[in-house]
């Protein structure tokens, strides 16, 4: 096609568009969509990149671009004056952002439980150790029992996989690695902070930490669960992708958001295979995707995300739970997603100060 023809077609299209716009009268009525740029935990990037989400937002007057960043990293490593919003995956990171920046309000938008992406043979091994049970399409794992396997107790050393009953000589999973859950980097990302919240609850005898003194008392057993993992990804999309691509050998158990699993499961070319399963920790913890507005335009987008029925419905298709419960449950049932619709045993993270205290101690340990 020659340049001339191309320009010709462009001119015709422009003319046609002008006609369409004039006839439709007001589709673009409010003027150009306002460009809004923000930082978001990586797990919500596919939602923002969905054409339908973009169309709804554009229709409401906003051209939204979300860039991927670790939730805690948003608070620590970016110049937030350059952005309209920060959208970390949890309340603690949002609190940190609000504490250190001038903001235009905060919106609770979506929530999702923390789950462990794992494999049937692993679930069987954990069941054999008495810490997991088959719940039909998924598994339930006793949080305190699992943490004891990983962190050890007064009477038992931390376990490696080949020490679990039924796995002698690596019959089921031939790995001399420690029994550990892979999480993201605790210094950078929300999902690791949520994991830390759960670990601290278990090691504190099944009670939410209420002081830094309580946190210090359990710290020595917390540290190996994070430092033992070694290098960790800065955002939650990383470990989940590693789980999907590299299989059981590298990722026997990975701390993920339930929504990540649901989203992958309902994709047209899903990478979820039959031997993959979710372990629901009991108790678990919901992470609250919290939108922090940094500008006026950001604030308006935050309001839309937390209240617009169309956006809430689309969020359900990404596995996110919202105040519209029916939308989520309908999506799960329609697609036969092997997840737990209703969760009863749910805890809260410790206060921001207590959690931050633990994170900072871990941060110092990484420097050693």
């Amino acid at each position: 096609m020659s340049t001339r023809t191309r320009l010709g077609i462009a001119a015709v299209l422009v003319a046609a568009l002008i006609v369409v716009v004039l006839v439709a009268g007001g589709t673009f009525g409010g003027g150009d969509p306002v460009p809004v740029v923000g930082l978001s935990g990586s797990e919500k990037i596919p939602f923002f990149e969905d054409d339908r989400v973009q169309a709804v937002l554009r229709d409401r007057g906003f051209e939204v671009e979300a860039r991927s960043a670790g939730s805690r990293e948003i608070a620590t490593s970016y110049d937030l004056t350059l952005y309209d919003f920060a959208f970390p995956a949890g309340v603690p990171a949002a609190t940190k952002i609000r504490a250190e920046n001038s903001t235009e309000g905060q919106f609770s938008t979506f929530f999702t439980p923390m789950v462990i992406a794992s494999w049937d043979p692993i679930a069987d091994l954990l069941a054999g150790s008495g810490v997991a049970r088959d719940a039909g399409t998924y598994h339930v794992v006793d949080l305190r029992g699992l943490v004891d396997l990983m962190a050890g107790t007064e009477s038992a050393e931390p376990k490696v996989w080949t020490e679990l009953p039924g796995n002698e000589a690596g019959a089921i999973f031939n790995s001399s690695r420690s029994v550990l859950i892979n999480s993201t980097d605790i210094r950078k990302s929300n999902s690791a902070a949520m994991y830390l919240s759960m670990v601290s609850y278990a090691l504190n005898g099944g009670a939410i930490l209420t002081s830094t003194a309580e946190a210090d008392a359990i710290y020595d057993r917390v540290e190996p669960l994070f430092l033992g993992q070694g290098f960790a990804a800065s955002s939650s999309a990383g470990p989940f992708e590693t789980y999907l691509v590299r299989g059981m050998g590298g990722s026997p158990m990975v701390m993920v958001y339930e929504a990540q699993f649901i989203e992958e499961f309902t994709k047209e070319s899903s990478a979820i295979t039959n031997d993959m399963t979710l372990l629901y920790p009991e108790p678990t913890l919901f992470t609250q995707h919290t939108f922090v507005a940094l500008t006026e335009a950001g604030r308006e987008v935050g309001e839309l995300l937390s209240s617009d029925p169309e956006l809430q419905r689309l969020a359900a298709e990404y596995g996110l739970r919202t105040t519209d419960r029916a939308a989520f449950e309908g999506w799960i049932a329609e697609n036969q997603v092997p997840v737990a619709a209703d969760l009863q045993d749910v805890i809260d993270p410790p206060s921001y100060e207590v959690l931050e205290h633990l994170i900072q101690r871990l941060e110092e340990a990484y420097q050693r």
Partner: protein, 520 residues
């Protein structure tokens, strides 16, 4: 309003006209990349055609690359086989703006088929300890790159050390398994600063080696090329764990964010993932893409990668100071009249840098290390001096390093002719004798001359004398440096004769002396 509509109209046009609509041609992006990415070169035209972005690669090693990025050299993108060292080093700098894995390849062991069968490594659960036992017994002689210079060696070192530490968790400073590592490295017969050169050298020296450590993709490619190997390699994936490289494409220049996003989407599309798989024999980094059928399908146990720079540095120093066989390097140095002034001064600096005066990331690892021996042979019309140094303390102010610098300052004086081959032959005789006395060292020769031989032996006479040497001496490699008016032809002939490698100084002797350290 109108402008936006034109943009909208163009967006409609794009699918029909392809990339040509993107402003009349390609945008060139500068990429600092690991040399292992050279195998993507056949795809570069297609990439430019499909995306509108032409990638202009500058190849470099692991630590050098990290150092150049941190040093503020301006590149749009960085692309290494893995970037964890860079990420740890640059953690607080914000230099890496975005990073996405593009393809995967584990670093594993290629073992000659007959050996693998003989030792039951073909289908059994082999551990690093099994491998170390064979290496320690002198039965398994292998090649691996220098971990301070090249990603494949670096990755392997981390895998082996973590597996030997046996804690099941990421390596920490207190549990670096020095003795087991020594046993393993007793089998290391060939090292190099680049994975590509190592693979080529393995092919040349395959008669005297039993295998090599490299990327799965490189090993499979060696097997795939007809007539290259006398005996195919069996790929061994140790059961106690390996490390997989994930080739992240990193954004360094914020203003090219759009290009980075477009390239990442393009590379991670299922079609391109399959193309990469068939072209390079790497594994897809994206879920749901078929793996090339030539790649074995098995559960790979991945060891955790250390989470702190301190551990990695400690491990690298331990490799150099304790684990590997110590090097004995002969530097054959030209002090003829033409070296007068700037050339001899730059040679002095290049040598003294290796005693701790270069404090950069790469400089600290290029320093002469514990147990190492260095012999300087200075020549002009004749061999002027031969001086030995034995390193027992790596402090820049140690007595031996001071003695080294004093000699370099006073003993390297330009004047006279160029009896290059007399000096080189002497180096071979000395190194050969030293090797006969102590086989546990890694011997090599560096040759620096800025002109053609005009005294003593000529090349042909050297060649004949060389062929009379003991086979142990003949196995010692020479790394000639192209500098000044040195003869390109003769230096290349020398490298070929001794199975070494020519390095072009490009006027920067300090840099090339540092690079060659990866081959010693």
């Amino acid at each position: 309003m109108i402008r936006r509509l034109v943009v909208a109209a163009l967006a409609f046009l794009l699918p029909a006209t392809g990339i040509a609509a993107c402003g009349g041609g390609d945008t060139t992006l500068t990429v600092i990349a690991g040399s292992e990415l050279k195998d993507l070169e056949p795809l570069l035209d297609q990439i430019a055609e499909d995306t509108g972005y032409r990638l202009d690669f500058t190849y470099t090693g692991t630590l050098t690359g990290a150092e150049r990025v941190l040093g503020g050299e301006e590149f749009d993108l960085a692309w290494f086989s893995h970037a964890k060292y860079l990420e740890l080093l640059a953690a607080s700098s914000g230099l890496v703006k975005a990073s996405e894995p593009v393809m995967l390849s584990p670093v594993v062991l290629g073992v000659k088929q007959s050996r693998a069968e003989q030792w039951g490594w073909s289908n059994g659960a082999v551990t690093w300890a099994d491998i170390a036992a064979r290496a320690d017994a002198g039965e398994f002689r292998f090649a691996m790159t220098n971990p301070t210079a090249s990603n494949s060696g670096f990755t392997a070192l981390i895998g082996v050390a973590t597996a030997f530490a046996g804690t099941g968790a990421a390596l920490s400073v207190t549990d670096i398994p020095t003795e087991e590592m020594q046993r393993f490295f007793n089998g290391l017969e060939l090292t190099a600063g680049s994975s590509g050169w190592l693979a080529e050298s393995y092919v040349e020296s395959q008669a005297t080696l039993d295998g090599l450590v490299n990327y799965e993709s490189v090993l499979l490619s060696l097997n795939a090329e007809p007539g290259l190997l006398a005996e195919p390699l069996t790929l061994v994936y140790p059961a106690d764990g390996i490390v997989t490289a994930d080739y992240p494409l990193m954004l360094l220049n914020e203003s090219q964010r759009e290009a980075h996003t477009a390239l990442v989407d393009y590379f991670r599309s299922p079609a391109m993932q399959e193309t990469i798989g068939t072209t390079t024999l790497r594994r897809p980094a994206v879920p749901g893409v078929n793996i090339d059928s030539r790649i074995p399908d098995a559960v790979l146990v991945e060891v955790p990668f250390p989470g702190s720079l301190g551990v990695i540095d400690e491990l690298l120093f331990s490799y150099l100071d304790d684990q590997r066989a110590p090097a004995h390097t002969y530097y054959v140095l030209d002090a003829s009249g033409s070296m007068e002034g700037e050339p001899i001064e730059s040679l002095r600096i290049a040598l003294k840098n290796l005693t701790g005066l270069d404090t950069s990331v790469t400089g600290q690892f290029a320093r002469f290390r514990l147990r190492e021996e260095v012999t300087l042979i200075v020549f002009s019309d004749y061999v002027e001096s031969v001086v030995d140094f034995v390193i027992s303390d790596t402090d820049p102010n140690s007595a031996e390093f001071r003695r080294f610098r004093e000699f370099v300052d006073s003993g390297l004086v330009a004047g006279g002719g160029t009896a290059l081959y007399d000096a080189l032959l002497l180096a071979y005789e000395m190194a050969g004798a030293a090797k006969e006395a102590d086989k546990e060292r890694f011997y090599s020769i560096v040759l620096l001359s800025d002109g053609e031989a005009n005294e003593g032996l000529d090349y042909g006479e050297f060649d004949r004398a060389f062929s009379q040497l003991h086979e142990d001496a003949q196995a010692i490699r020479t790394f000639p440096i192209l500098f000044g008016d040195a003869s390109d032809d003769e230096m290349h002939a020398l490298a070929e004769l001794t199975r070494g490698r020519v390095f072009d100084s490009a006027g920067d002797l300090a840099k090339v002396f540092k690079t060659i350290r990866g081959y010693q």
